[in-house]
Structures are given as structure tokens and as C-alpha cells.
């Protein structure tokens, strides 16, 4: 008997069509049909200048968008042969790890909900909200952030970020402890997850599965360890490995990875080079609104010398932190706004990077850069033909290969095991279909 788990289905992970051939309750064959979210990412990237493709990369793996941004930036930087500054690399590591925690929270929350543990879903989404508030403070948006830029990031970390992160992590650790208590030794959860969706090491390697899925089978491959990028080689963290390659191991690996990500962020915040200075040499800072009010009342004497307090991340003055977070390469990075409006060199620099036909022009060549996405190795293969737009951008999607292995995971199990297996695959449609 054929059962069609159609494109629109209750599992929260994305649209895919799984046609299962059943023998009673047992699955004897599956046919997976994808492509329902194909949005032409690769074709659109060929039409845009390099930095303009950033919003498209956000929407690849939309649960951990920062990792996609930085992966793409890394590929272009390698093509241009430029190094981002140290503070920028620390910021990228911090934001990537926060994004990874968001992804794992969503994955485990959604799969727990599909098994009936709705409370866990609510707790984890609440935890994700706290992280999104952090991300919003830094990037300006909760989900589709377009934060990375070739050669740097958009803006620096705001005041008090370390304190807020510490508070958020305390709360998240409490939530994770609660969810752990609810799920890890829960009889129903263990019965449904243990022994289902098993894949062997050899099969996983043959299907070129990477990420937590692969590590749950016992293969120790993490791009952050094997081919470190940014400042991951300075961070001390463990890579959790599973044993059996079943759904339960994947759940445990993801839970542990969240803890390790928090550890990385804490180390990065401790080791990050100094940030921008917020006050002038006399130490005076007044809020911008107060300056305006004073001026309206006629108290303008001395106002010119006062430093106005503007948010260093999103609006106003950029010069203070521009050099800290952006590479000094003039070929790729826009000048700070004070220079672009203030002197002719800045204006010319800005012009050469923004006008049609000019812009970031890497030499002819190609490069493949891989980062550790939440699902596995996220690779960007960029071919440049010397013009201001990429000639070809290829995303190596981690969950594409995992979904290709879905028949191996499902055949032999019961129909009800399709739900936890598909949940632990963490298929993100934006990444798989691009």
C-alpha cells in the first residue's frame, strides 16, 4: 500500500513529499521528492554584485542564518585573499554559535512536539526568543539578518552585550536542564527514538552526510576542528560523538552541542580584542535627544564639543568601530560614512565599490570554502570571472545528502517512526532546495 506524506504536512520542518510503500505498518520502500522550495538562489546570485547576495544567503538555512552569511563571506574573502580583523572573527564566531544554538533548539523542539511533547517545544521556542533578542540587538533583525559583509560584518556588538549574553545563557541552561529532565530518560521518548532511523558509519560516509548526523554514528568529523576557520583553533570545545547512529543519539549529540556552543561563546567573549571607545577625551557623552532639547532652549554653547551618544551598532557614527570590524582592504570594504561624506578619498572609495560595473572585483578563479553549519558541512563554491558579480555560486547543502539517505533510514521501521526520523534529519527546505 502506498501512503503519500504530501508536501503540506504537519511536521514543521519543511515541505517534502515522501511516498512510502507500506506492508501493514512496516515501511518497505520510500521515494522522496524535494524541490518544492526551489527559489533559484544560484541563478539570482549570478545577477547581483557580491555583497548584494547576502540576503539570499540568509534564507538558505533560515534557522541559523548567520552561519550561511559568514560562510559566503569567507568564500569571497578567500577569493580576494583578504583577512578579516581579529575582532571581526571573534564576532563571527560568537554569532555563528548563537545561531547554531537557535537551530538545535528549533530542531529538538519541533521533533519533540511531533512526538507529543508540546511543552518542550514551547520551552525551547521561548529560549530561542531570548537568543533572537540578542541577535536583534546586534544585527537589527530576528531572523533574516544580512549581517555579514565581505571583509567584515555590518556593525559592532552593542554596549552590554556580554552581560546580556551571560544572562540569556543562564536562562537557556535552565531551560535545557528542564527539557533534559522531561525527555532524556522519558520512557516514551526513549522507546520512540532509540533504535529507529539507524544508519551505519559506512553508509553515512558514502552518502557524504556530515554534521551532528554523522557524529551520531561515531565518525569524528567537524569542520571547526579538522579545517579550522576564523578563531576556532583558539577555542577549547568538545565534539560530542554518538555510537549507534539512531535518533536518540542524534538528540543527545545536539543537546550536548548546544552546551559546547555556549562554552565557545563564553570563551570568545572573554578573549575578544577591545571594542570601540564610546566617549571623547574629556569623557562627556550626552544622549542625542538631550542635545536637541538643549539646543531648542537656546543652550548651545559648548554643544559642538560634546560627543553625542548614538548606538554603535545600527545608526549614526561608524568611524569609531569601522576599523575594528572591517578588513582594511579598499578593494572590498566600504569606507565609514564620515569619510564617504567628508573627504574626496572616501567618496571615491565609496563610488568605486558601489557603482554598476565597478564594485568588488576578485580576480578570475574559483574557491571552495566550507563552514560547519548546524546540519553539517556548508560549502560555498564561488567562480569569479573578474567582474563585479559572481559567475557561479554553488551552495553545498548539508541536508540534501541526509535527505538522499532517508530511504535507508526509513526502510524496515514502522510508519510511526517516520516522524522522529524525519524530525531528527532537521531538513531545512531553504537550504536543501535553495
Amino acid at each position: 500500500m502506498f501512503l503519500n506524506v504530501g508536501p503540506s504536512h504537519p511536521a514543521m520542518h519543511g515541505i517534502v513529499r515522501i511516498v512510502t510503500e507500506l506492508d501493514g505498518e512496516r515501511i518497505v520502500g520510500t521515494d522522496v521528492e524535494i524541490g518544492y522550495l526551489h527559489r533559484g538562489f544560484e541563478k539570482m546570485c549570478e545577477r547581483e554584485p557580491y555583497n548584494n547576495a547576502m540576503p539570499y544567503t540568509d534564507r538558505l538555512n533560515y534557522v541559523s542564518p548567520l552561519i550561511n552569511n559568514f560562510g559566503y563571506c569567507m568564500a569571497i574573502e578567500r577569493l580576494l585573499d583578504i583577512q578579516p580583523t581579529e575582532r571581526c572573527q571573534y564576532i563571527r564566531v560568537i554569532m555563528s554559535e548563537i545561531s547554531r544554538i537557535c537551530d538545535h533548539l528549533t530542531c529538538i523542539g519541533a521533533s519533540a512536539m511531533e512526538l507529543g511533547a508540546f511543552t518542550v517545544f514551547l520551552y525551547m521556542i521561548k529560549a530561542r526568543e531570548w537568543l533572537w533578542e540578542l541577535i536583534e540587538a546586534v544585527t537589527g533583525a530576528r531572523l533574516t539578518i544580512s549581517y555579514g559583509r565581505v571583509g567584515g560584518v555590518k556593525a559592532d556588538l552593542p554596549e552590554g552585550f556580554a552581560q546580556r549574553t551571560k544572562q540569556a545563557f543562564e536562562d537557556i541552561r535552565r531551560v535545557l536542564l528542564e527539557c533534559d529532565t522531561l525527555l532524556t530518560r522519558n520512557r516514551i521518548f526513549v522507546d520512540r527514538m532509540q533504535g529507529t532511523g539507524v544508519i551505519s558509519k559506512e553508509d553515512a560516509i558514502s552518502y557524504s552526510i556530515t554534521g551532528p548526523f554523522l557524529r551520531a554514528t561515531g565518525v569524528n568529523y567537524d569542520v571547526r576542528r579538522q579545517q579550522p576557520y576564523f578563531v576556532y583553533d583558539r577555542m577549547a570545545f568538545d565534539v560530542p560523538l554518538g555510537e549507534h547512529g539512531d535518533n536518540y543519539d542524534r538528540y543527545l549529540v545536539r543537546m550536548e552541542e548546544m552546551e559546547q556552543s555556549m562554552r565557545i561563546v563564553e570563551q570568545a567573549l572573554a578573549g575578544i580584542p577591545a571594542g570601540p571607545v564610546q566617549v571623547d577625551h574629556e569623557g562627556r557623552v550626552i544622549p542625542a535627544a538631550m542635545m536637541v532639547d538643549e539646543a531648542k532652549l537656546g543652550h548651545t554653547r559648548g554643544l559642538k564639543a560634546v560627543e553625542v551618544e548614538t548606538d554603535p551598532t545600527l545608526s549614526g557614527s561608524t568611524k569609531r568601530f569601522h576599523g575594528l570590524i572591517n578588513s582594511p582592504e579598499k578593494r572590498a570594504v566600504l569606507p565609514p560614512k564620515e569619510d564617504a561624506y567628508g573627504n574626496i578619498e572616501g567618496l571615491m572609495h565609496h563610488f568605486k565599490l558601489v557603482m554598476v560595473g565597478h564594485g568588488i572585483r576578485p580576480p578570475q578563479g574559483e574557491v571552495y570554502a566550507a563552514v560547519e553549519g548546524a546540519n553539517g558541512e556548508l560549502g560555498f563554491y564561488v567562480v569569479s570571472d573578474g567582474s563585479d558579480r559572481p559567475y557561479r555560486v554553488r551552495v553545498r547543502p548539508p541536508c540534501f545528502t541526509i535527505m538522499a539517505a532517508l530511504p535507508v533510514l526509513l526502510v524496515g521501521d514502522m510508519l510511526a517512526d517516520l516522524v522522529p526520523t524525519f524530525g531528527s534529519v532537521n531538513m531545512i527546505g531553504g537550504e536543501m532546495d535553495r
Binding site: 504530501g6 524541490g35 519541533a110 514551547l122 531572523l143 533574516t144
Partner: protein, 187 residues
């Protein structure tokens, strides 16, 4: 269209009981708007904001819309959340056709409203080219406050029994939207 009221079926004498039928319509509208059974047709990134709206922080349950029904036969509002590609369009139409009257459609996210920035061979530029849409919630993705605002407007519509009639499509859109936004597109 709206279910035939008793008045329309000619069982009630309109001239004497018109106050009762308006009260009935109002009561039906009130009941419908506070018990929304949504069919979340979730595809893409907007699904994350949909989850955030539905969960405890921005709780949509306090509006009576907390129960998703994953069968079109049991749902009355179709939330189309996220980009609809041409491959998915027949599926969307089928789900919409399977829903029972009265039904409403919410286009959640700019990809469903007008296609977003995916102006290419794969994307449907607005689901109102396929099915009639009642509420458009723009945003990429829309903030949960935006979604709740859209939901409240939907509730107003439900109260008054107003429904979208035909697929609107590109012909009904203002000229600014049809013009190309990329001045160097011809290059």
C-alpha cells in the same frame, strides 16, 4: 460564499424578524472570529516567525487561533506561510479547494503577497494569482506583532462576513509594483 442564512432560504419572514437575523449574523461572526482553526501551509523562513507567533512569547492562542488543524476539511483559515514555488502551486490550490466554506486565506510574508525578491523562474509572484486572499501580511519575515495585527484585521473581516472574491493577480496591482525595481536590469 457565506452559508445561506435562514432568511435567504425563505423560512423566516424578513419584515418582522430582520433584527433577529442581523443579530444572528453578528453572533455567527463573533463565534467564527474567536475560534479560528488555521491550516498552516508552512513552507519557508516565515514558518519560523509563525512558530514564534504561535508559541508562548507572542501567544496567538489568546486570540482564539491557537489550534492548528492539519486537515483542510477541519480548518477555516488557510495561512500560507512562506514562498510558494510553481511546483507547489497545484498543491496549494488543491488544499484550498478541499477546505469547506466559510474559509479565508491569509498571505503571510511578502513572498506570498507579491513574490518577494525571488523574481525568477521558480516562484509564484503572489498567491493571489492562484487563490483569493483576504489578508496580506507583508514582511520578510513579518514580526510577530505584524502577524497579530493582520490576525486582528482578519477577525474584523470575519465579524462582518466580508470575503475576497476573485484571484486578484497582477492586473489588479498598482503600476509601481509591476515596474522593474532594478534600473540596471537591462544590462
Amino acid at each position: 460564499m457565506a452559508a445561506l442564512t435562514a432568511m435567504e432560504r425563505g423560512l423566516v419572514d424578513v419584515s418582522r424578524l430582520s433584527w433577529m437575523t442581523t443579530k444572528l449574523e453578528a453572533a455567527l461572526g463573533w463565534a467564527r472570529k474567536y475560534s479560528i482553526f488555521q491550516y498552516p501551509f508552512v513552507t519557508a523562513c516565515c514558518g519560523m516567525e509563525y512558530m514564534a507567533t504561535a508559541c508562548s512569547h507572542y501567544d496567538v492562542d489568546r486570540f482564539g487561533a491557537g489550534f492548528p488543524r492539519f486537515s483542510p476539511r477541519q480548518a477555516d483559515v488557510l495561512f500560507v506561510v512562506g514562498t510558494v514555488s510553481h511546483k507547489l502551486a497545484p498543491v496549494l490550490k488543491r488544499v484550498y479547494d478541499q477546505m469547506v466554506e466559510p474559509k479565508w486565506v491569509v498571505a503571510f510574508g511578502v513572498c506570498t503577497c507579491t513574490g518577494g525578491f525571488y523574481d525568477n523562474y521558480a516562484t509564484v509572484m503572489g498567491i493571489d494569482t492562484i487563490i483569493p486572499v483576504d489578508i496580506y501580511i507583508p514582511g520578510c519575515p513579518p514580526r510577530p506583532e505584524n502577524v497579530l495585527d493582520g490576525l486582528m484585521k482578519l477577525q474584523e473581516k470575519m465579524q462582518h462576513g466580508v470575503k475576497a472574491t476573485l484571484p486578484q493577480g497582477p492586473s489588479a496591482r498598482p503600476a509601481e509594483l509591476l515596474a522593474s525595481h532594478r534600473p540596471e536590469e537591462h544590462l
